[in-house]
Symmetry: C2
Subunit: 102 residues, 2 copies
Amino acid sequence: MKTLGDTLKCAREEKELILRKVAAEVDIDQSLISKFEKNERKPTMEQIVRLAKFYELPESELIINWYSEKIADELKYTESTSEILKVAEEKINYYKAQENGK
Amino acid sequence: MKTLGDTLKCAREEKELILRKVAAEVDIDQSLISKFEKNERKPTMEQIVRLAKFYELPESELIINWYSEKIADELKYTESTSEILKVAEEKINYYKAQENGK
DNA sequence: TTATTTTAGACAAATATTGTCCAAATTTAT
DNA sequence: ATAAATTTGGACAATATTTGTCTAAAATAA
């Protein structure tokens, strides 16, 4: 299972960059970036965008990983998760339909 | 689309109770309960449990609603939501499998 | 070993959530 | 219509959660 952290770490290793260097370029503390790679902290959306740009990764891939991990974290110790996700999707579709027909 | 707030309000009206009364019984400010019913605030899990008990509603129904609304809120203005949910489910299943085989 | 890179942990700063109160608005009853 | 009761909105303080920063320990490479 490839995590957001894995993706970021791979991207950095591909380019053979050290944390200090990336940190300077994207203006994020190197310790934070290390934690992103180890999934100990979640980047903010703005950080995601900057990292995607810097590593030349598709932003959408990172965002999908970001949200799905957030949700997985929330439901990790919960029952009826597939039911919850099913209902969540229904509600989202309902809200979005509302928005369009506004 | 039946919300958690709808469920709580219906339950209260079924029993013909006023907010003040419920508030006293479950020890939650009546203004808060009003907001729960209008989906302006989310109850905490503890409050969910107390309300379910008081109204004699299945706790799991409320919890499913609670989580699914939380997720729907998070994804309301996001793209690729069904992809996100799909990936989220995969990750959850992965984590849970890990837990069992620990 | 020494130098470099990565990681862990503590802590303050910034955000977000929650509970409480009160008065305005709404509804119901007289 | 007025008065009484109920519901609701909004402001604010209290709490909790998340985030950024720093420092030094741990790990890795030279």
